[in-house]
């Protein structure tokens, strides 16, 4: 047997060790979304506050964050102040109130502030199912054409906003050029 062949088991060991070491730092909950780069699903739902029916055309034309939330969801309370701050800085956020009690949801918006352009009342979770939501909070970045460009699972915080902001800025820049050519 050739001499180098003796090092083969060692090489395999190193390779396996590297793979397993890498896997230690991967998040198994970080499942790729099936909806990225697909059109935002059709919906027809009343808003939470004024009960006005809204559909998918209401989120087209501008870049939106679509945030799935519920008063029963503890992480939503964690991210809420940051969403309020984002809204104050001009980020358009649309809420999907996921299987929630309307009174509790309205009280939540009164008490903690309302960062949403509007929140639709997804009482039966139909829109959330079409969005492939597995739990709140989840946030989608939807471009001006109504295509989902990114999905974020879990609360948005000051700590993890930066990469999302990049996507948001990029999409806004693209939408800006779209507006110019459209004129």
């Amino acid at each position: 047997m050739k001499r180098w062949a003796l090092f083969l088991p060692f090489a395999i060991f190193v390779l396996l060790g590297f793979l397993l070491w890498r896997a230690l730092y991967l998040d198994p909950k970080d499942v790729p979304s099936a909806l990225v780069d697909k059109a935002f699903p059709e919906f027809n739902l009343p808003t939470l506050v004024d009960k006005k029916p809204r559909n998918v055309s209401d989120i087209k034309g501008q870049v939106h964050l679509v945030n799935v939330w519920g008063t029963w969801c503890i992480s939503c309370r964690v991210e809420h102040p940051f969403l309020v701050k984002l809204a104050q800085n001009g980020v358009r956020i649309v809420g999907v109130n996921y299987k929630d009690d309307n009174d509790a949801a309205l009280k939540w918006l009164d008490d903690l502030g309302n960062p949403y352009v509007f929140s639709v009342d997804d009482e039966d979770g139909i829109l959330s199912m079409d969005l492939g939501v597995t739990g709140a909070p989840e946030t989608f970045i939807v471009d001006a054409k109504g295509i989902i460009r990114h999905k974020h699972q879990g609360p948005i915080t000051a700590g993890n906003w930066e990469p999302l902001e990049k996507i948001w800025l990029k999409l806004n820049a693209q939408a800006g050029t779209l507006d110019k050519t459209g004129e």
């Binding site: 047997m1 499942v31 099936a34 909806l35 199912m129």
Partner: protein, 168 residues
């Protein structure tokens, strides 16, 4: 004679058109008996085969997560309405991705998953054959080396001769 038999069969059938999954009863009674039976069967199969998207390793029938019970209800609704198994699987994959399939389709990114073990086994077999062959070759060579060539024979005879003479 016939009556109790029919009675037993009807009881058997009523049990069959109701799938019990995760402690909940899911009755199927919209179609004919045969349809109900296959639907209940399909429901049970899909609840086993579809994975709860929120959980790491539980299927829809095992999980108590909210999303799992929602999806069980959706699954029940669709099966009851007579939808095909493949359509329901597509519905789930379109929303939750390939992750929900315990039996993923064979395509680009799942090739490693499907054929990786076979490839590794073949590789191991190849290494095994290689090692066995080279060992065999080596031992054959050793046996060959055991035979003395002419020079060695002469030397052995010399040595033997020498000791013989010294012994005298």
């Amino acid at each position: 004679m016939l009556r109790p038999l029919l009675f037993a069969i009807s009881i058997f059938l009523t049990f069959q058109v109701q799938a019990i999954v995760n402690g909940h009863e899911y009755p199927f009674n919209d179609g004919t008996d045969a349809e109900n039976y296959t639907r209940a069967q399909l429901f049970r199969e899909l609840a086993e085969e579809l994975r709860c998207p929120k959980c790491q390793n539980q299927n829809l029938s095992d999980s108590n997560a909210m999303i799992a019970s929602d999806l069980r209800r959706e699954l029940y609704k669709q099966v009851k309405a007579g939808k095909e198994g493949q359509d329901i699987i597509d519905f789930m994959v379109n929303r939750y991705g390939e992750f929900v399939l315990y039996n993923p389709k064979i395509k680009g990114i799942t090739l490693v998953l499907w054929f990786g073990p076979v490839a590794l086994f073949l590789l191991a077999l190849l290494v095994f054959v290689f090692v066995v062959r080279s060992r065999r070759k080596q031992s054959k060579q050793n046996i060959k080396n055991d035979e003395l060539d002419e020079q060695e024979l002469q030397r052995v005879q010399q040595l033997l001769h020498k000791t013989e003479q010294e012994g005298k």
